[in-house]
Symmetry: C2
Subunit: 241 residues, 2 copies
DNA sequence: AAGTGGTCTAGACCACTTT
DNA sequence: AAGTGGTCTAGACCACTTT
C-alpha cells in the first residue's frame, strides 16, 4: 500500500543523497549494479539508467571490470548540474547565499533584446536586476530580460529572489530545457556595478551572456551577469566516457 | 560476412554524421525510435542508449509524445563535446586550425605543479607550450605540464601539434577520463603573451587552469591557457532533461 | 576463476502529444 | 485514436579487471 511509483527518481534521489552525505565518500566504490538491483528490487536496466545520469555529470566514474566509484574530486567543483542556478553555485562553494532583488521593471525591448528573444522591437519586457551574495559578500550582478507576453496570469507580486527556473515555472508556466552561454572577460567600469559589487574600478570580472530556451526552442530569457571571481572561483568538471 | 560488431558505435557514428552533415537539419525531427530500430536492425534499448548520449550533449532534444528533434541552435555553440580539444573548438567556430609547437622542454616541477600533479617537488616534468591559430590568427596560448614519469617509452620525438588527448594516448598510453577547469578573467601583461597572441597590452583575456585526470583519479596534465576571445567567442550549451 | 561493468535482445505498459 | 518517447523487466553474452 506504500508503493513508490517513480522508481527511477527514487533510486536516483537515494544515490545522490548518499553521495552528498558521504555515505559513499569521495573515491569509494559504490555497491555493484547487481547489489543495487537487489537492494532496490529493480532490474539492472533501471539501475544503469540512474548510474548513466550520475556518470554524465561526473559525479561517479565507472570502470569496466573494476566497479563504480564516487569521483574523488567532486568537492572541488562548484558547477555540478550547471550554471542555471547561482544560488546553488554559492551553496556548493560552501557559502550562505543571499539573493537581493535590486529592481524589477517593465519597459520596451531594445532592438538587440527583441532580436534575441524573437520579439518585435518595442514589445514589452520585464527586466529583473538581482544581486547574489555569498556570506554577505556581493559577487554576481545579474540582469534578466523576460518577454512580458510570457506572464500569463495577472499576478501583482513577483518574488524576485526565486531562482530563475522557479521564477519562470511559477509565473510563466515555462520550463527551461537548455541554455547557451557566452563567457567573456570584462572589468568593473560603470558606477552601478562598482557600487553593487563593492569592488575597485578596473577590477577584472567575468561576464556571462545567456539565453534560456524551452523545449520548443523558444527563447524565454536573455540575461547578462557580471561575476566577481575573487570571491568564488568558477570551477567546472567535464567527463568523457 | 560483412558484419559490424560495434553496433552502438556504428549507430552513434551514423547519427552524428547525419546531424553534422544536415541530413537531419537543425530543428528537424529525427526518425522515431521504432523507425531507427528497423533501419539499423537493433533493439530499441540500443537506439535509446545512443539517443541518450546525443541528448546529454544537447545535440538533440527529445519530447515525450512528440518526437526527437535536432537542437535548432547547435550551430551557435563551439564547445560541443567539451573544451578538451582546442583544435575542434576552432573547427566548430568555422575556422581553419593551426597548432604551433612553441617549445617543449624538460625541467623540475615547481612546488605548485608538484602539488597539483601529486609529485614530489623537483621531480622532472615535460612542459609543452603551444599556440593555437584560427585562420592564421593566434588566439590561444597553452602551457601543459606533464610528469616525465608518464612517458614510458624512450621516444626521441614528440609531435607537439597533436591534440592533448592523442598526445597522452600516443606517448604515455594514458586516457583522459575527466578534467577540472577554473575559468578566470585576466589581461595581456607579459611580453611573451602579447607578442605571441599579437594583442595590445592590457587586452582582456580569459584564462583556463585545467587539470586532467585518468579513470583512477591520477592527475595526468596540469595546464593553463590564455584565450583571446576577440577572435572566437566561447559559447557553451547546457541542457536539462 | 570470479567478479565487474558494457552491450544487446524482445518484449510490456505508461505518460504525453498530436491528429 | 494513434503515435511518440519514458519506464521497466528478465534475461544473455561479452570485455575487462581483480583475485
Amino acid at each position: 500500500m506504500n508503493q513508490i511509483k517513480a522508481t527511477i527518481e527514487h533510486v536516483e534521489g537515494t544515490l545522490r543523497e548518499r553521495i552528498q552525505q558521504r555515505a559513499y565518500g569521495p573515491g569509494e566504490q559504490l555497491p555493484t549494479e547487481l547489489a543495487l538491483t537487489a537492494e532496490f528490487g529493480v532490474s539492472r536496466a533501471t539501475i544503469r539508467t540512474v548510474l548513466t545520469r550520475l556518470a554524465s555529470e561526473g559525479l561517479i566514474i565507472r570502470r569496466q571490470g573494476a566497479g563504480t566509484y564516487v569521483n574523488q574530486r567532486v568537492g572541488e567543483v562548484n558547477t555540478l548540474g550547471g550554471l542555471l542556478d547561482y544560488g546553488r553555485l554559492i551553496t556548493e562553494s560552501g557559502y550562505q547565499p543571499t539573493i537581493q532583488s535590486i529592481s524589477m521593471l517593465q519597459r520596451e525591448a531594445t532592438e538587440a533584446e527583441a532580436e534575441l528573444l524573437n520579439l518585435a522591437p518595442g514589445e514589452p519586457v520585464m527586466v529583473l536586476v538581482r544581486l547574489f551574495l555569498a556570506d554577505e559578500r556581493p559577487f554576481i550582478l545579474a540582469t534578466n530580460v523576460i518577454p512580458q507576453a510570457l506572464f500569463s496570469s495577472n499576478d501583482d507580486f513577483y518574488d524576485g529572489r526565486l531562482p530563475l527556473h522557479l521564477f519562470l515555472q511559477q509565473y510563466c508556466q515555462q520550463t527551461i530545457a537548455y541554455a547557451i552561454y557566452e563567457i567573456s572577460p570584462t572589468q568593473a567600469d560603470d558606477a552601478k556595478t562598482i557600487q553593487l559589487l563593492n569592488c575597485p574600478p578596473g577590477q577584472q570580472l567575468l561576464q556571462f551572456a545567456t539565453t534560456f530556451y524551452n523545449q520548443a526552442d523558444r527563447p524565454l530569457v536573455w540575461g547578462h551577469s557580471t561575476y566577481d571571481d575573487s570571491v568564488v572561483k568558477l570551477r567546472f568538471m567535464q567527463s568523457w566516457v
